[in-house]
Amino acid sequence: MSPTTVDPAEIAKFEAMAAEWWDVGGKFKPLHMMNPVRLDYICAQIAAEFGRDLTAPRPFEGLRLLDIGCGGGLLSEPMARLGATVVGADAAEGNIPVARLHAEQSGLTIDYRHTTAEALAEAGEAFDVVLAMEIVEHVADPQGFTTTCHDLLKPGGLMVMSTLNRTAKSFLAAIIGAEWVMRWLPKGTHDWQKFITPEELYGLIRTAGLDPVDRKGFVFNPVSWQWSVSERDLAVNYVTASVRR
């Protein structure tokens, strides 16, 4: 493998959890709960950028999509079902057989690879869509990673990147709430110091040569027990869309 922005200690943590990816009541419950709003956002952005009708069958037919940090395939599978040609990449080797097995059971064809964004870019791979969801806060070099995402896009391609904001509220919600109180995530899943503010992320995106086109918050409502997309509240989880011109 080529020089990489992956932090080995971070990979080891996720490898230990790989088999649990598809257990909706298990360790990845928070991701399963959040998945519908993440998918809604991704679908809406792809539809807007490439002029696709989401009520049509297989609306993403003909689009080549890369899911970086694909894990067990929680995003790769829906994208494949919607017609996209999907490459799922994960630096944690243990995730790949889990994801492959599940895709096969689901009757989906997905190209899962144990590789990194950097290795794919070096090999000259090019995509219409690059998804980097909840990844950038785990990498050793966020700027290098974002620039690699740019390099992986065809001109006119779309990058969707989500992360966690570095605020007092995100410390309370993501560290104290999700890891300590609710035990949704194992303690130490997130390092608050590595969280990134929207301004910092826009800086990374622009420096990488991408044009930001949209940003929204993902907000958890503890009363309705549901996630929703927010125009204004980017204090904890948030997502951005940007385009390579």
Partner: protein, 406 residues
Amino acid sequence: MDHDVILIGGGLNGPGLGLALARAGLSVAVIDAQPARARAEAAFDGRAYALAIASKRLLTAIGVWPALAAEAQPMLKVVASDGRPGEGASPLRLTFDSAEIEEGPAGFMVEDRHLYAAFLDAMQRTPGLTHIPGTTVTGHEPGPAGVTVSLSDERQLSARMIAACDGRASPTAARAGIRRVGHAYGQTALVAAIAHERPHNGEAHQFFMPAGPLAILPLTGNRSSIVWSEREESARAIAALDDEGFLDLLRPRFGTFLGEISLAGPRFSYPLTLTLAERYVAPRLALVGDAAHGVHPIAGQGLNLGLRDVAALAEVLVNAHRRGEDIGAEDVLERYQSWRRFDATTLALGMDAVNGIFSNDNSLLRTGRDMGLGLVNRIAPLRRAFMRQAAGLTGQTAKLLAGQSL
């Protein structure tokens, strides 16, 4: 996969859900135990439904209402009152006038034969929907990516999930190991269509009698549908009477406000039972309507409650389908269960309590409920809230119940 969804049950909820899903682009099959034309071409058999406004909106959104509109009787006013046979209605009565809420009539009465015919026509016109009449389901086997359904004609069909719309005894739910709780009320509903001398002017009446309620619901022309609840033993005796004997007993309860009455169709009797499924979902299966919750038909809420399930499940599945999710996955089906279970159970238990209070000749309770009804009648906002709830206009509104397509 042969289909996205297989609907088990060709009654009303099955075709309704099938139409909602097919119109949104999913491939569905409706397995119907009845031969297709039998019910649609039948003469009036006395069965009719009080459709809430929200249900009418759903029927509009799935393209069924236009064929039905001419056969539907608007309910312009609903009058609930306490009474004892021979005494006439209590003066402290509760009046719901649809002029009080902005939504129009309180509901519509439609006959089963017209509703089913409209569903049948819509099913035949809708691409993506396969109607399989005269066939029953003998088993189903959930797997990691889908479910296989075995049919009585030896065929097997596969789908991503199945919805059981097969009634209060739901063989599908039983096969999935879903247990039921419930009880018999010791009451039986006597159902019949009545022809009367004078026009009903779109008024529906609910008389709360000691033995159980008598509902008089307007049908088209000078006809009304009655749902007359009696204690089991008396109901058995009344059902055994000839038509004249039946009418002789009905007259003092019905009253003379519509003039002379006669029977306009055959008589039916249904023992009243409450049955609730302990879960609404199982692997690759969701329960809809009576299969999930068979309620006391006191306010004609059975079908309305079923259509609320249809609207919620259709919305959950269509949203999941359009974002690429596995529509039969546990977390997708759980969204439906958490949306519907509270509402349906509350309503079922609420109607149970209403029926218990009114089906009692205890004088203290009688005074209490007379005062209660009088009080509700005097407080306009409370009465309007009561009407909206009965009309199915409250709660988290599904798009179809607001008349929007998915």
